[in-house]
Symmetry: C2
Subunit: 301 residues, 2 copies
Amino acid sequence: MKKIMECVPNYSEGRNRDTVLAIAACFQNKENVRLLDFSSDEDHNRSVFTVIGEPEDLKNAVIESCKVALEKIDLRVHEGQHPRMGAIDVIPFIPIRNCDIEDAKNIANELGRYLGEQLNQPVYLYEKSASSPLRENLANVRRGEFEGLKQKMQDPDWKPDFGPLSPNESGGATAVGARMPLVAFNVNLNTADLSIAKEIAKKVRHSNGGFRYIKAMGVELHERNIVQVSMNVTDYTKTSIYRVFETIKMEAKRYGVAVVGSELIGLAPVMALADAAEYYLQIENFNVDQLLEMRILEGEE
Amino acid sequence: MKKIMECVPNYSEGRNRDTVLAIAACFQNKENVRLLDFSSDEDHNRSVFTVIGEPEDLKNAVIESCKVALEKIDLRVHEGQHPRMGAIDVIPFIPIRNCDIEDAKNIANELGRYLGEQLNQPVYLYEKSASSPLRENLANVRRGEFEGLKQKMQDPDWKPDFGPLSPNESGGATAVGARMPLVAFNVNLNTADLSIAKEIAKKVRHSNGGFRYIKAMGVELHERNIVQVSMNVTDYTKTSIYRVFETIKMEAKRYGVAVVGSELIGLAPVMALADAAEYYLQIENFNVDQLLEMRILEGEE
């Protein structure tokens, strides 16, 4: 695959195995599309898929899965702990390789238009695709959930970006958007004093004057009797992991505290780490295509 | 592909385009085999291919290419600047992913046996596959070249590991072996004094008491008026790039000199760099499968 886009669609079905497998089938044995992972949660009554592919092929597979979801999932009888407003609840597109956030926005737009115009499903564009600041945050878009959707959509602020002006009877509405890959990165401190982790979290996070693409909080690691600055890096291409790491080290010194380790949670793009190696090793003119495995991916048909 | 082995076979033909393309064809449109790169040099009269694949499929493709080379290349009429002793001159196997040097040695042995027993081509195992220390170094194995081979093979020290006890009439003999991926990594110093780069090179290289898997020399970068410690890391899994980098920084201080940058030349495995990020960011329990693109490769059929 030359271009790699990721999509992590969320469907409001985590109990009916047939439905989940029918959705999964939309991503299997498709050219230039690969299902990396999926998981269903019975309490949430929700399934999350991680799919990657060439943007156009990926979009077509997601459309197919939306048809299945709209046909098989009826939100009027749906119960679960997770907030939701649609049978296909939220569809983020994430640029991974040889494509950027603009490409992801284009695909999100095309998919949103298809859902609205062809499948009669109202669509709100969110995150980087949002048509107004109010719609950037998914929690805002979804507030009121399926049950409150009919009333919410009568508010001119909540006219959908695509599709009918009232909810799909059984399918509700869907949030579609582009975002950067999230990197979950935590830094451990050799103190049991939670207030120190909380203070440092404030200093590095955007909401309190820190880095633009850092969300952070302080947490206790009880079993190790230490504390941690727990972070989401929402755009590692602009706020580098090494920069926030070095800043945390610097701030910790102020309290006589040292960094004893860090954790990378879940998946991260190669460049999120290669970027750190490039900085610390002072590599000039580094190109990610110098990494052998990236060349193998590049050669993919 | 689950397992990825690399092979970089060298053929003694760099001028006849038909022959080179016939060799290339052995690696194209093959399941689980991918030709990443190839280049021919007319002066050397030699072509080098970079191929990766599942070990067994890769071996079969290489065998096919050897048949083509033995049929089409006649060393009795071969001229070129590069030392050579065989129509297929040297075949290294290099473990890249989910396989190790033992797997590479096994494949090298199997290929060597096939060349010797089925294709009547004498084979010397070299590098990590060498049956004696004398055969580890390719230059030793190849010394005397095609023209001296008949006499050399009469020496009991140079009985081949596989195949006939005298050269293949038109094909000579072939060196086959396993080695680790080479990483070419250079570190630039803010001085024009070559003797400093040479001193530091001595301190880090194996031959003078340095790291086991470092070859190093000092060179001048004339256009920038600085010097460089130029290195080959012959096993980055045992001698980490960050370790030699930090050692060079430390040694440079002794001369009041600073590291101003570094270069990664050609291709390197992702882990060679991720290893450095893991060290500097102090990441606990890092696993290369946490890198999204590695998961995509993993999912390859």
